[in-house]
Amino acid sequence: MPSQRDDAMAHDTTAPVHIAVDRQHAALPAAPVKIRARDVNVFYGEKQALFDVSLDVPENSVTALIGPSGCGKSTFLRSINRMNDTIPGCKVTGRIELDGEDVNDRSIDPVVLRARVGMVFQKPNPFPKTIFENVAYGPRIHGIASGKTELEGIVESSLKRAGLWAEVADRLHQPGTGLSGGQQQRLVIARAIAVSPEVILMDEPCSALDPIATARIEELIDELRNQYCIVIVTHSMAQAARVSQKTAFFHLGKLVEAGPTGEIFTNPRDSRTQDYITGRFG
């Protein structure tokens, strides 16, 4: 699709910043697109936080959004499942398609959308309930399980997929808030996958964790990639390089460059990307 833009970038590395560069198709022509964002602008009241962002997120892979603080990567993430709706005065324009459907369309119920697009936050936020009740929360409100046995099955399989089952199997009825930070974050991931979402959005999921817990989460993300489309916001370039297949670099509310992770990190086209990943700013 954006071969024209690629050419423009090839000739002029200081191209206008609003032009998003997407080399995904050239590198992986087979990967189907799960989320297609076109000319997305986000405003918080008078202040514009995102400028004409266009990005394709491929199915069954991990897409990392990187960039300095305040660059709009979390804002973009939150506009995918319309969590920005919960912020008063926030306005989103442009198209964000999930499987070809515009998520901002009137016919889309944000409640249903959020069941399809799960989210994991920066700080682990288990509910002050038991481990079991935390995972059962989504299935209960969406009426997914038809009985107690089925619910227990969902809880068990979600905890297993989140790699937490072995640690909590014998204390399912103790408070989720009593777990360690890394365990809490995996509990929250289990809670998110219990409603069988298609997409999982992760907003700096490891920034509150120590390196060992971070490694566990990263392993988990890599395993989950087979079943879900994952979008992760991260401050750690090393993490983006380790877990993602595609990377998008945001700067000052604009998408500067996006492409296969390997290429972004070894051969960035934009000088700002180069500066950021080599640690010259950000």
């Binding site: 919960t86 002050p128 929360y137 409100i141 409603v195």
Partner: protein, 480 residues
């Protein structure tokens, strides 16, 4: 008057020491004020404090307690004529002597002969003693002030840590203030316990706490006609409980739901308008609620129930109808309902704070799971805030139990064992008010029973508050 002049002089002297101390501090550095450990003002303050505070305390102490000292000294070695009088007559005699000395109003007692001489003698002596105390205290105060100056002034040198010393004085002031509050509370409790103890000498404690008849109108003088008296407080506890229950049935749902609306649904504009409006309710004096209850709500409720009674009369519920037609203005329901309205802002503002303290991340987590706002409130926010809300309700209960004005005006005075909200009932606080207003004598069980009630009330509200604060504390720790 003289005391005020002395204190003013002392203040001026302190100011002078302040200036002098400051100047000396600057002078000791030979033109380099930066060498001083503290700012020059601290040296001045240090000297002024030493001059002013001890002397002022001394003078004030004698101004306050000098009268008592004088009265005590006057009674040392009474004349022979006075010694023959009875103890109450002696009290009157000395009071008269002091009144004459100060040009006040003596009693109408006629003194003659030896007593008259003794009276004039004692009046003169009273004047002498009080003058001695007044001039003496001022003179000693002056000496103290000078001594303070002689202690503080020579200490001023660049190495002297005046700032730390002055801050020590200020810390002392803070300690005195906080100790005052604590001592006052302790004093209140002590007086309650002491008077209650005297009451329980007359009426056994089990009879008071478990007895079911309350009729404190006993004869205080021999010529009065009254019943034998009964001090079983259970009807009062029941009445208090009934009104508290009605008040909470009104305040808990309305307060809680308005808190949920304000913190979870209202736009920030609505919130900024509605919250102050609700808090105006909290600023209405309870006596205003009282006459609202007595003059508006009471008659309204009465005519409503009378009307229902009239509709039912003659039918199969005739007994009920007859009862409803006799309902009066004063009933537990009126007092309870108005008290509930009074408590709404209390409950809503506390619950609002507690609901707001639930971290936004929990709401985000729930919303991101595809929960609606109401599911989020029901299943995540409220359970998380529940302990705090319970504590807020307990605090409201403790206010309802201690509330006086509304029930005095709208609940009635009859101590009845009833849970019928249409009956007139009476509460612990109402009884305390009626027992302690008007004619009273402080060694009759009638009056003393007010202290027994007060102590019980105090114990109950204290316990409720402690439990509530414990819960709040525990809940806070969970999220910080």
């Amino acid at each position: 008057m003289l005391t005020w002049i002395a204190l003013t002089a002392l203040l001026l002297f302190s100011l002078a020491t302040f200036m002098a101390g400051r100047r000396r501090a600057v002078a000791t550095t030979a033109g380099k004020p930066a060498l001083l450990h503290s700012l020059p003002g601290y040296y001045g303050s240090y000297a002024a404090l030493w001059v002013g505070v001890p002397a002022a305390l001394f003078i004030l102490l004698f101004a306050m307690f000098g009268g008592r000292l004088e009265a005590g000294l006057l009674r040392v070695d009474p004349p022979a004529a006075v010694q023959q009088l009875t103890a109450p007559q002696q009290d009157v005699f000395f009071d008269d002597a002091r009144a004459i000395a100060r040009g006040g109003m003596p009693s109408e007692t006629v003194y003659d002969g030896a007593l008259k001489t003794a009276l004039d003698e004692k009046a003169a002596q009273s004047n002498q003693i009080s003058n001695l105390i007044q001039y003496g205290s001022i003179g000693l105060g002056a000496i103290l002030a000078l001594a303070g100056a002689f202690i503080a002034y020579p200490r001023i040198s660049p190495q002297f840590r005046a700032r730390n010393k002055v801050e020590g004085w200020i810390a002392g002031l803070f300690i005195v203030c906080s100790v005052t509050a604590i001592l006052t509370t302790a004093g209140i409790i002590a007086s309650l316990v002491w008077e209650s103890w005297r009451f329980f000498q007359a009426v056994p404690i089990h009879e008071f706490l478990l007895g079911t008849e309350w009729n404190p109108q006993i004869a205080m003088r021999a010529d009065q006609f009254a019943g034998a008296g009964a001090f079983g407080a259970v009807p009062l506890f029941v009445g208090t409980f009934l009104i508290m229950l009605i008040a909470m049935l009104v305040a808990a749902p309305i307060g809680l739901f308005s808190a949920i609306y304000l913190s979870e649904y209202a736009s920030s504009w609505t919130r900024s308008v509605v919250k102050p409006l609700l808090e105006i309710l909290a600023g209405v004096p309870t006596v205003v609620y009282g006459f609202f209850a007595a003059l508006t709500v009471g008659p309204l409720f009465r005519s409503f129930f009378n009307w229902i009674g009239a509709q039912l009369a003659g039918g199969s519920f005739d007994g009920l109808a007859q009862y409803l037609m006799q309902v009066q203005n004063q009933m537990a329901l009126v007092a309870g309902a108005v008290m509930g309205i009074m408590l709404i802002p209390f409950v809503s503002s506390l619950s609002d704070d507690i609901i707001n303290a639930v971290p936004q991340s929990l709401r985000d987590g729930s919303l991101a799971m595809g929960a609606t706002r109401s599911e989020t409130v029901k299943k995540v926010v409220l359970p998380a805030a529940l302990p705090g809300i319970m504590a807020a309700l307990l605090l409201a209960v403790s206010r309802a139990v201690g509330e006086t004005m509304i029930v005095t005006m709208a609940a009635g005075l009859q101590a009845r064992m009833t849970l019928n909200p249409l009956d007139t009932v009476t509460t612990v606080t109402v009884q305390i008010v009626t027992l302690l207003t008007g004619d009273q004598e402080f060694d009759s069980p009638k009056t003393l029973s007010a202290f027994g009630l007060g102590l019980t009330l105090f114990a109950v509200t204290l316990m409720l508050n402690i439990i509530a604060l414990r819960i709040v504390q525990k809940y806070r720790e969970q999220y910080d």
